[in-house]
């Protein structure tokens, strides 16, 4: 077990295979990250954000353009992958097809000339941990996707790596199996407490698994925090929009001052939302800004509500919950409720906003404008 430290890490590719929009051709741009010993960290972002490149540099499968990688206190920049004490579990579980599951798991131990009895003990121990004991004598072709991924992870951890690296290990699996494996991975980590870095583009996977999430975009780290920090306290519009399902409502608004109070107003809409007091020293009359609020933080007001009357543009009864959409210009502003009322398109509701849960973002940069100070 070991902590992992990335210091001012850069990766620059030659222009030749330029697939993605990056800043100055940097696939990874000045990345700093400290993963604690035993921590589960997710690298999260859309395709092309640099998350897999980062993982491959940690694994030693990709040259480092600039910067330093430490596993524990060892600088590993110039170490061969096999000397870095890492376990790898990637999306495609390339197993040796002529070997049984047992031999696949044992393979690297045999290569390292580990004692035969010790190999047997460790293979069986890992198989028990990953609930794949009954698979040990099977051939890889006979396994389901979920079983293959179990064996793949067993193979990665049997050597007791200091660091476990996983690159979208569940993306091949279908919905239910993916959910089940997600739980298994979390429980496994809880048991072996191996420092783990997990690459995914699925924010729910990251939220469910990780102690902390590093959210990347265009090669640049946007935010590094616990799932609830990135959910409740996003640093910018990108993070706010990326985390959460259904996504946060983010709307362009113009602040106006009326009788000493500030309101958010919206183009082609009568909607007015009282600006929370805590933003009063940050806003001014006529200011253009983006306002974000999650669908769970909008409410339907009662008879005495001061909320703006709004027409229900869309009502969905989803059984487990109900969703209401209100048109605000080009945007369908979503509200989620467990209220049992069945609304109809055209019904008028009083829309109320939990002001404490609104976020402001700079209209140009998308950076969060924080209240107070």
């Amino acid at each position: 077990m070991a902590k992992l430290t990335l210091k001012n890490l850069y990766k620059r590719y030659d222009n030749s295979g330029k697939k993605h929009k990056t800043v100055n051709n940097f696939a990874v741009n000045d990345l700093n990250l400290d993963c604690r010993d035993g921590e589960f960290v997710a690298l999260l972002g859309p395709s092309g954000c640099g998350k897999t490149t980062t993982l491959r540099m940690i694994a030693g499968l990709e040259d480092i353009t600039k910067g330093e990688i430490f596993i524990g206190d060892r600088l590993v920049n110039n170490l061969h992958p096999k000397d870095r004490h890492i376990g790898l579990a990637f999306e495609d579980y390339a197993m040796y097809p002529p070997l049984t599951v047992y031999e696949n798991i044992a393979f690297n131990l045999r290569a390292k000339k580990v004692d035969k009895a010790e190999i047997d003990r460790r293979v069986r121990e890992i198989a028990k941990l990953l609930r794949c004991e009954e698979l040990l004598n099977m051939m890889p072709v006979k396994l389901s996707g979920g079983q293959k991924q179990r064996v793949n992870i067993a193979r990665a951890i049997v050597r007791r790596p200091e660091l476990l690296l996983m690159d979208e290990p569940l993306s091949h699996l279908d919905g239910k199996m993916r959910q089940a494996m997600r739980v298994e991975i979390k429980r496994l980590h809880n048991e072996i407490e191996c420092t783990s870095v997990y690459v995914t583009h699925d924010q729910l996977e990251a939220m469910s698994l990780a102690d902390r999430i590093a959210i990347m975009d265009l090669g640049v780290l946007q935010q590094f925090g616990t799932p609830m920090e990135v959910y409740d306290d996003p640093v910018n519009e990108f993070v706010a929009a990326f985390i959460g399902e259904p996504p946060m409502n983010i709307l362009k608004t113009k602040v106006i001052k009326h009788e000493g109070e500030f309101f958010f107003t919206f183009e082609e809409s009568n909607l007015r939302i009282l600006v929370p007091r805590r933003y009063y020293n940050k806003v001014s009359d006529g200011m253009l800004v983006k306002m974000g609020v999650r669908p769970m933080d909008l409410y339907i007001g009662g008879a005495d509500s001061k909320g703006t009357p709004e027409r229900v543009a869309m009502f969905e009864n989803l059984g487990d919950e109900r969703r209401i959409g209100v048109r605000v210009g080009d945007n369908l502003m979503m509200l989620i409720t467990e209220d049992e009322t069945r609304y109809r398109q055209g019904d008028v509701i009083r829309l109320e906003v939990n002001g404490e849960k609104t976020h402001l973002f700079d209209i140009e940069t998308g950076d969060r404008i924080r209240s107070g100070q």
Partner: protein
């Protein structure tokens, strides 16, 4: 008027029976959803209505006319498949106009202009007519594609999983956008999906199809609250309903339920004569109790009547989370707020809203009843009246 009727429709492919004696009526201008797992026969059913396939047995009627022998092109059916592909080099106007310019429907430009304007107004895309698809948002593209399908005023509008290829976030967004536009279609529509949220959201009525047969037909609320069997109950809802093996115990003038995993707990059923009558008629005491994850509750202190277990998993599903408790050999799913401070394997105490439980026959897995059935039937009747 274009209601759609299927009477005893059977479709075979070699030895496989894809549709088995399907009888179904879709009302005029209804938005009807066919919902079921992959391979259930949904797309085959759609193809038999469109005329792409012809049934071995039974009748397909559109607007009262038998169409078994009618060429697909003559059925005036518009079909939208699993993508909304627009012509990228054509403006929105030309994309929508394209079906009317095809050799079959060839119309003069004056007619086309009126038709495109009419559809654009319905879909609220009048301001976008000169744009290219690349200049549109996803929601706008969907509107253009729907407009293109509707422009020649089909009798029937068939949609085969149009959103299935999208990632979850976009799919949810597009579904909501589609729901908003739905009233504007004013065309008998059949929508095929394997996504229960799409089925619940969009369908005036839903037909659940499995192994080529219609398993249940009703409004979303009817099917969600009164699933005809455990298979349907499991399809409708995410996270999935908990099905618990229980025993009915009669006594004190009523019934109580004892879960096999916690035999020392008796859960008393509130009195309900209709339900108790059905319990009375059962030939065996073992039943399955269906508890939706929002009707099971966790506590971190022992409370009256709570069943003890440990936390097996805690994960977010977006705007909320699922706490899974391990009780005996059962994993029990419960809804919890995001960010709940909880450790794996810690103790947890569980209670159920037994007045919201759905009871199934342990042998046949068929629906027996639920405590609040009368109220749900009332709601469903009101919905039927409205439709």
């Amino acid at each position: 008027m274009a209601k759609i009727e299927l009477i005893g429709v059977t479709k075979r492919f070699g030895k496989t029976t894809a549709l088995n004696n399907v009888t179904l009526e879709v009302h005029d201008k209804e938005f009807f959803v066919l919902f079921g797992p992959a391979g259930a026969g949904k797309t085959t059913l759609l193809n038999n209505i469109a005329g792409i396939q012809i049934p071995e047995e039974g009748m397909v009627k559109i607007g009262g006319q038998i169409v078994n022998q009618v060429d697909p092109a003559e059925r005036n059916v518009a079909m939208v498949f699993e993508n909304y592909a627009l012509y990228p080099h054509m403006t929105v106007y030309d994309n929508i106009a394209s079906p009317l310019r095809s050799p079959r429907y060839k119309k003069d430009e004056g007619y086309i202009k009126d038709a495109v304007q009419r559809v654009a107004a319905l879909m609220k895309i009048e301001m976008l007519l000169e744009r290219l698809p690349s200049q549109l948002s996803n929601g706008q593209r969907q509107r253009v594609a729907l407009g293109r399908a509707l422009v020649r005023e089909p009798n029937v509008f068939l949609m085969d999983e149009p959103l299935a290829h999208l990632d979850a976030k976009l799919r949810n967004h597009m579904r909501s956008e589609l729901k908003e536009m739905q009233a504007a279609f004013a065309t008998t529509s059949i929508y095929v999906t394997h996504d229960f949220m799409e089925a619940m959201s969009l369908g005036d009525r839903i037909a659940i199809i499995n192994n080529g047969e219609i398993v249940q037909l009703g409004t979303g609320d009817e099917i969600y609250y009164m699933p005809c069997n455990e298979f349907v109950a499991q399809l409708m809802g995410d996270p999935e309903i908990n099905l618990l093996s229980c025993r009915l115990v009669k006594g004190d003038g009523g019934y109580s339920v004892v879960w096999d995993e916690a035999p020392e707990h008796r859960m008393f059923m509130p009195a309900n004569n209709a339900l108790f009558d059905r319990f009375e008629k059962l030939s065996r005491a073992d039943i399955h109790m269906g508890i939706r994850p929002q009707n099971a509750h966790y506590h971190f202190e022992p409370v009256e009547g709570a069943i003890r277990g440990t936390v097996y998993a805690f994960e977010t599903i977006g705007n909320k989370s699922v706490l899974t408790a391990q009780i005996g050999d059962t994993h029990l799913r419960m809804i919890a707020p995001n960010g709940l401070p909880v450790n794996l394997d810690q103790d947890v105490y569980v209670t159920f809203d037994i007045d919201r439980a759905i009871f199934f026959d342990a042998g046949s897995t068929e629906y027996i009843g639920r405590f609040d059935e009368a109220a749900i039937r009332e709601l469903a009747a009101a919905q039927a009246k409205e439709a």
